[in-house]
């Protein structure tokens, strides 16, 4: 429980450090306002009025990757408690049971991964 106190204090230290640095810099730096300076970076060409071009053509790959990441991430997190008890389980003679129960899970994981790869869901080149 007291560990939470330290984590909290450390977070506060870090945030204070960052805020302090930004605060000092904005106090010390010059302030010259100009319209051109605050325009978004555009390699020198005039800035388009409204950048709608990007949102209309959604790159499907990005969110597909993110969704698949969530699913596989959970499967990996399920392996952590298993990794923790496996060593003790072997000593207690439950090794085969633990290996088979996780083996089925990993088999499902592999089937999913193979399906994703073979269905070209993870391909970035069209």
């Amino acid at each position: 429980m007291s560990q939470m106190l330290w984590i909290g204090i450390l977070t506060l230290i870090v945030i204070t450090f960052g805020a302090l640095m930004l605060g000092v810099a904005s106090l010390l730096g010059p302030k010259v306002k100009s319209l051109v300076k605050s325009e978004p970076y555009e390699c020198g060409i005039p800035v388009p009025d409204e950048d709608k071009s990007m949102s209309k053509t959604i790159p499907v790959q990005f969110y597909l990757t993110a969704i698949l990441f969530i699913l596989f991430d959970i499967e990996i997190i399920f392996m952590f408690p298993w990794a923790l008890i496996y060593k003790d389980g072997i000593e207690a003679g439950q090794g085969p049971y633990l290996l088979i129960s996780m083996g089925i899970f990993i088999a499902l994981f592999v089937v999913g991964l193979v399906w994703e790869i073979s269905s070209k869901a993870l391909d970035w080149e069209k």
Partner: protein, 379 residues
């Protein structure tokens, strides 16, 4: 939990955090001089001896740069992103032990006897250490997304999306490559893992104990594949070359920090180098014996030191030697980060994703299964 305990704890956390922050300018110097060395140039060598004061000059310059928000940006988000960038690295670094625990004997102050205190050289000691570090490191994507979105610029946005997609893809391989080593250690606590790596290499096959005297008992000898996969995945996690696609200058201007300059940029740097330090420290702790020196035990070193100096002094020297041993290993891996950046060319984006999903993930899975089966068969 008395006053002095809290006092020492806070001091210790400040020291560890500042250790991380002050390493950043040094690393920038190493990066610039190292790249110059690799490319047969000189690098910054004008300010101070070997150009070492260049960092100070840079830092002072950063403070006097103008802070402004681009027109389409969101001010709060724009300023929040660099601060958020600091958090994952700093907090994850706090969970890793950097040396042997320090004993502070009982002393008198304010008419009372305080202590004795036993302070581990880490900000906080967690039973779930490894999972905690992975969990906190997974928050690293937010600073990128916030920066990309707060800038109100399509290059920033594209860079942030690419960085984030890359980060989460490699997080899978990162997490899975650690399952093998955790199977062998059977614990999440960093301190237990460190203690298990003391002494010569030993393991048991069946009922027979095997000791190999000329090798230390480090994790790398049990999990070579896991170590390689982990280290490669951390390169992608920190968005460093050869995986620095988020900021690929030729394609995306500068990625998610296109609109950032001055001190905000420095905070992003601290975040990135903080990630590198966490990666190196994890590599050291899990696979390279943490602060343990081969063939030297902490007690043996202490009794050796005691033979020619006072007991109180010897304890501090022992503490320092083990900390230096840890830092040397960390610095070696940091140097590998720099070395690889200036030696290996950048991947194409689809190659990067293919490597993460189609090669490293299956290999990490294979590593896990082989480790589990081998543990069962050899038990």
């Amino acid at each position: 939990m008395d006053f002095f305990y809290i006092f020492f704890q806070v001091i210790k956390m400040l020291v560890i955090f500042l250790l991380m922050v002050t390493m950043v300018p040094l690393l920038v110097w190493v990066e610039r001089r190292g790249s110059a060395f690799i490319q047969n140039r000189l690098g910054p060598n004008r300010v101070g001896p070997l150009g070492l004061l260049q960092l100070l000059a840079d830092a002072v310059k950063f403070f006097f740069k103008e802070e402004f928000v681009p027109k389409n940006g969101y001010k709060t988000i724009f300023y929040l992103a660099p601060i958020v960038a600091l958090i994952p690295g700093a907090i994850a670094f706090g969970a890793i032990p950097l040396g042997i625990p320090l004993d502070i004997g009982a002393f008198n102050a304010f008419g009372q006897t305080w202590g004795p205190y036993n302070l581990g050289f880490q900000s906080f000691e967690l039973g779930i250490g490894v999972v905690f570090v992975l969990a906190v490191a997974s928050l690293g994507g937010y600073s990128l997304l916030l920066a990309g979105w707060g800038s109100g610029n399509k290059y920033s946005m594209m860079g942030a999306l690419r960085a984030c997609a890359q980060m989460i893809s490699y997080e899978l391989a990162l997490g899975l490559s650690l399952v093998g080593i955790l199977l062998i250690y059977g614990t999440f606590s960093f301190n237990d893992i460190v203690n298990m790596q003391e002494g010569p290499l030993n393991f048991s096959i069946g009922q027979k104990d095997i000791v190999i005297g000329f090798l230390p008992n480090w994790g790398i000898f049990f999990q070579p594949l896991g170590a390689i996969l982990f280290f490669v995945a951390t390169f992608a996690e920190t968005n460093r070359a050869p995986f620095d696609l988020p900021e690929a200058e030729a394609e995306l201007v500068a990625g998610f920090h296109t609109e950032y300059g001055g001190l905000k940029m420095l905070l992003f740097f601290i975040g990135e180098y903080g990630h590198m330090m966490v990666a190196s420290a994890l590599m050291t702790t899990l696979f390279f014996g943490s602060y343990h020196i081969p063939f030297v035990t902490p007690d043996g070193l202490l009794s050796f030191l005691n033979s020619f100096m006072g007991a109180g002094f010897a304890k501090w020297i022992q503490f320092l030697i083990f900390h230096i041993s840890f830092m040397l290993k960390v610095i070696f891996f940091l140097w590998v980060f720099v070395w690889v950046r200036w030696t290996v060319p950048r991947f194409r984006y689809d190659q990067l994703m293919d490597l993460g999903w189609k090669k490293m993930l299956p290999w990490a899975l294979f590593n896990t299964v082989v480790t589990a089966v081998a543990m069962l068969l050899l038990a």
